[in-house]
Symmetry: C2
Subunit: 213 residues, 2 copies
């Protein structure tokens, strides 16, 4: 995570706003490490970050918003690969997700975000928007694969990417076991075989998963 | 859901205990429908169920425990099929999960349970135990498939079943969109193709997903 340290010359308001945001998100992450989501309060975040409570409430309104923004920020560490083949891209992305959720910090943030979404419709909507954008962006690897004739043209890009991520979220949120090495390889093998079998064909049935709606 | 109505002749203590439990779980379900997990309190459950608050606390300790027990109870409505072929069993189970989570009630309960697990280690452990048991039970369909030579003998039964469920939980908790008709068919097609491709081979790599540990 970044720190709230003020870089030399970084004095314009934009810089100050960015530094405040970094300080706050770092504090949220550290609070989650220490006490978990149950103990997370705006007061603790204000104390740890040194940012005024009023500023926190004005800019983020609730801890639910804060954890959503933290997940968005952290997930930017997962790069979208372009290896030249879909099996290569699937494996690279799955391995990146495996590494990301292989450490406890991101798992805790994910659990906090899903808990926040369960109690706050605005957090739920933020989560929906964030993952929809990720699925659309990552769908580029599937569109390239269709152009390369690796997959049939009626393949649903978002459904393929959703299927690649699903085992990780099932492991963390449902099985509640650590993400172990091998889950990424298994997910990539599974999605490649399933996509070629037509499991993610667009509009094959009403409400096909992940259809572009 | 069952109701708290007293069946004639059902007067022994066990019967009374069972009726209390039904009344409480029905009240929890109705409270989730009305106000969601954020508004769920032991006091509201006591009021709606007519069960003494002290009894609630003594038997369930928290709303987190209550929602976990409710999910366990409701999930018993998902039968484990035995159609004679693995593709048939996968499709039947996937369609049952699709029907179950196709209505808003079970989705709300699932969200509440995952939120409860994020803030209460005991709820998390209850959730882990419950799904581990479900995976082991449903794994029977995979063991039958291996016996029928539909799948290689090194197939991990729990990994196959986990992969069948994963898309539903991703849809509900991460994409936060309704479970639409077709998701079950897609999941069944995907898992059958992936299992035959060896995506769920036991011990193929360290910490293979869902390995029997």
């Amino acid at each position: 995570m970044t720190t709230a340290h003020q870089a030399p010359g970084e004095t314009r308001p934009g810089g100050r706003t960015a530094r405040t945001r970094r300080a706050v998100l770092t504090a949220v992450s550290e609070e989650l490490d220490d006490g978990g989501f149950a103990a997370l309060t705006m007061e603790r975040v204000a104390q740890r970050s040194g940012v005024h409570l009023a500023t926190l409430y004005r800019r983020w309104r609730s801890v639910d918003k804060l954890v959503c923004e933290l997940l968005t920020e952290m997930s930017n560490d997962i790069p979208l690969p372009d290896t030249g083949s879909l099996p290569g891209d699937l494996r690279a992305l799955a391995d990146a997700i495996e590494r990301f959720y292989g450490s406890a910090g991101p798992r805790r943030v994910l659990e906090a975000v899903v808990a926040a979404a369960a109690r706050d419709p605005q957090a739920a909507s933020a989560l929906r928007t964030f993952f929809d954008e990720r699925l659309t962006l990552a769908g580029a690897m599937v569109r390239r694969a269709v152009a390369r004739r690796e997959l049939p043209p009626d393949t649903d890009p978002k459904a393929v990417v959703a299927a690649l991520g699903a085992p990780f979220y099932y492991r963390i949120l449902i099985e509640r076991r650590p993400v172990e090495p091998g889950l990424g390889a298994s997910a990539a093998t599974a999605v490649w075989a399933a996509a070629r079998a037509g499991a993610y064909a667009l509009g094959e049935h009403d409400g096909a998963p992940g259809r572009e709606d």
